[in-house]
Symmetry: C3
Subunit: 374 residues, 3 copies
């Protein structure tokens, strides 16, 4: 690029994306579902597009970065695979190294390592109920302050680039305010949610570990359309929504551990009183993995156990959940751009609302996923 | 590029876009709304994505230009931020300089300077009710003839590129036919709307002024789903839809004036008879601005007064409106790509339909917007 | 590209697209419709966007190819022109020439030359009822094996690139499994559909011909929302869905013939019993065309006769059809990127469901289309 020519559009930002196609090879119980995981948990052996995404992003100025990610796997009236926004945000840096940044727009909430980690790098097919029930789709609309020193920013980036399944760069310290009704939903009250997080990735000998703590608080308003007729609610349908989580990650060099646990309060259906009430919740997971490289191929077996006891505010009547799942699987990258995952899940789930006040389901699933990144 | 190689795809067209994130810092009256302006006028202090757009465009042949713009801020079933088309059109030029062009597709109707001006350059957050009530989303599907001599085309382009808040190039003379039900709607009758416009941007000393006149006529069919049960309509729900507008612009060098007014006829709810009838309408606005540059920063304070008395054909029962708004604000471009706007609005609005036949609302709003262009 | 630099994103894949704008100049019978063809068959002379597509694709590795195509002309709640996925698939090749490939994702089913041929190159505005009633939108989600020797792959590509209206490369031999409920729909049963196809394009003197045979079988489940109250169905709403088709193409050098016919079984409304039953179906078309080139312009007149007698599983009550259409038209490419088509159709259609058990419509249509490819 000569100095006299303005930069070309294709040099100022980049375009990439990925496609996840799943095949449910076996599901022992057609009544066992998991709305938040994957809407194709329905007993049918069939193909399903879980994610089909385009990412437009770039550091378009010394201080200005943007990220624009539509997904073409959203449900709409009359079918699947409509295009809907995942991310649309930009960062403004206050110093030459952008160690201090403000992010504005729809973006992931800095709460939960697993939530922030891209689905394109996560080992299990679905996020855990315990952590992901905080924010369906992991995102909301707001303003966030991030701080991370230069070397830590480089390290966070490297943990993704090197195939170590990092969470990406959501700062060493994060503090944000956001609507609180999750992404792609109109806010329903006059109060913002608040979130804070501290993380500290560090090298210990040949290993890298990253402990984090994070918490958020706010008032969640149960949307009218999400309450069965006959269910009693708080007068303004507004509920305390508050959690704190601890994370520990040992990056897979070659043996990895990833564990998170959170406790808090939130709306939950109470079948004794047919009402939605603020109740305690708790849950988390432990995952172990092993990273094998052979030539340019990567093979990563993993096991994960997860547990959740609490409500899901995004579901009908803030459905009451009790989940005990165990899963093992393997990820295989046979060539660049392509990744195959096979996983077998043992699932025990009690999830209850006004229409289904006694609903305990258990079953096994064998699922395969082919993912292409471009 | 050597002569023997075909051009690369990225040289034949370009990709850009912008994101508008709003924060409603204060709204004194939760019952004061403005559907056509911004669906987040609802009393809540919250964040909202008003526009999230990608623009694919290019002069792909000597005579052929195209423009393809999806927006990812459309409402759909089950949420916000679905992707929907704004523009999808192409121009075919009849002479080497493309002074004579035919445009075919979904595009802005050449009616109203403010309608044609991009939202990414407009000073106030929302278009005025008086002018914008002609066409919600400013667009329709049709065929349009544009004529502009070479030097005027360059001037229209320059008025945008130089940050003077121009309307873009919709010709010096425009004549078009279009469906008449506005963009992204199926046509409902066998008759097309017709529009014509003449504008004349010119330099007077150091200043640039642009007076324009424009008008359109057609039959608008009230969609069935937009009529309350109990409201009487014309037999075929078809109404005369006809307006003429005058525009005057003094571009901000550094002091600017932008003023438009239109009169016409269109469907409007009549609460005396509970019917939708053709009634007179009138409305417009005057805006004053001042352009300050400091280094690479731009600061533009502005004030706008607007008025509208008439129906809104795109709303329930062709809602009857009487609007008196006054607004002041400032736009600040701290760095390239980023633009911040703060505006304070005093709003008085009477808007009435079958369910709300006596609905006068007034209130004040403080709103902030951060816009990123990439 | 030097060896030390990674390839730029814009070198690894390409972006293109097209826009089809139609104008229904004349429709003699407003009650004559064809849902599967074009939702603007409704008697109104008006503009309509039939397709507005972006295609992201590329051979991103020696063995890995991807194709990602959203369309921004899908209907949604509240309007037209929402973005929805057409294709999202990738190919993995097993040999250096990718003669043996597996395709995974949402893609066209290799059934019917006309189905596989891109709408951007097809001569008539709409596909024929007989062949296209196999799969609305021509696509489904599954896994497909393709085999084609190198020289045949080159030939299939050349048949498109040279303007001879080829079908693209869906292999010489194809074998696939897929959900069976067509694209963008959740699968409804535990059984996959199976499809197979053999084609053999070959040069005979100066001419190129391509005969093919293809067939598929599976169980189609009538979706609940697509059955009128009062209509009787099979207990599980599941119906045999099975067809075999023969294709013959003489490519236009300069005179062309394209003919297809298929027979099979599928769900169809029976007005005698008010039930949906498996019934026989048959239908096809013959098209003749002539390719004229003058300088860089292309002119192709064509005539097509088509016939269909059977049900349409994708429509209300698996509507019963009997179609006899005749159409003539001309395609004109005045400059690169731009293509104009005018067609006149004589249509006789009986299509009957529970609400309209005696519905025979006939009429003539004059339609124009402008298509821009970028």
């Amino acid at each position: 690029q000569s100095d006299t020519n303005p930069p070309k559009w294709y040099d100022t930002f980049s375009l990439r994306g990925y496609i996840q196609v799943r095949y449910n090879a076996f599901q022992s119980n057609p009544d066992l579902g998991c709305d938040q995981c994957d809407k194709s948990w329905n007993g049918n052996s069939s193909f399903f597009i879980r994610r089909a995404r385009l990412v437009f992003s770039g550091q378009i100025g010394k201080q200005v970065y943007f990220y624009f990610q539509p997904d073409f796997a959203a449900s709409g009236s009359g079918g699947l695979n409509f295009g809907q926004l995942k991310d649309a945000y930009f960062d403004f840096g206050f110093d030459p190294e952008n160690e201090y940044r403000i992010r504005v727009g729809q973006t992931k909430i800095p709460y939960g390592f697993e939530n922030m980690q891209s689905s394109s790098v996560r080992l299990p097919l679905d996020r855990s109920d315990g952590i992901n029930s905080a924010f369906t789709n992991e995102r909301d609309l707001g303003a966030f302050f991030y701080w991370a020193p230069k070397e830590k920013r480089a390290m966070l980036k490297q943990l993704v680039d090197a195939g170590l399944k990092g969470s990406g760069d959501y700062g060493i310290f994060a503090l944000g305010v956001f609507n609180g009704q999750t992404s792609n939903q109109l806010d329903q009250n006059n109060a913002l949610h608040t979130v804070a997080r501290v993380t500290w990735p560090m090298k210990i000998g040949n290993q890298i570990v990253e402990p984090s703590i994070q918490g958020y608080t706010g008032q969640f308003v149960m949307p009218k359309g999400q309450i069965s007729s006959g269910v009693k609610t708080a007068a303004d349908r507004s509920y305390l929504d508050q959690r704190v989580a601890a994370t520990f990650v040992l990056y897979p060099k070659p043996f990895g551990i990833q564990a998170e646990f959170n406790v808090g309060k939130g709306p939950e259906f109470n079948k004794q009183t047919d009402s939605i009430e603020v109740q305690n919740l708790k849950g988390g997971y432990v995952m172990m993995s092993y990273l094998l490289r052979k030539d340019k191929q990567v093979i990563m077996p993993f096991v994960r156990a997860q547990y959740y006891d609490g409500g899901k505010k995004h579901e009908l009547d803030a459905r009451s959940y009790k989940v005990n799942d165990f899963e093992f699987g393997v990820e295989w990258q046979p060539v660049e751009h392509l990744e195959l995952v096979g996983g077998y899940t043992f699932s025990k789930r009690r999830y209850e609302d006004y229409a289904l006040p006694d609903n305990y389901q258990m079953g096994n699933l064998l699922r395969l996923q082919a993912q292409l990144s471009f």
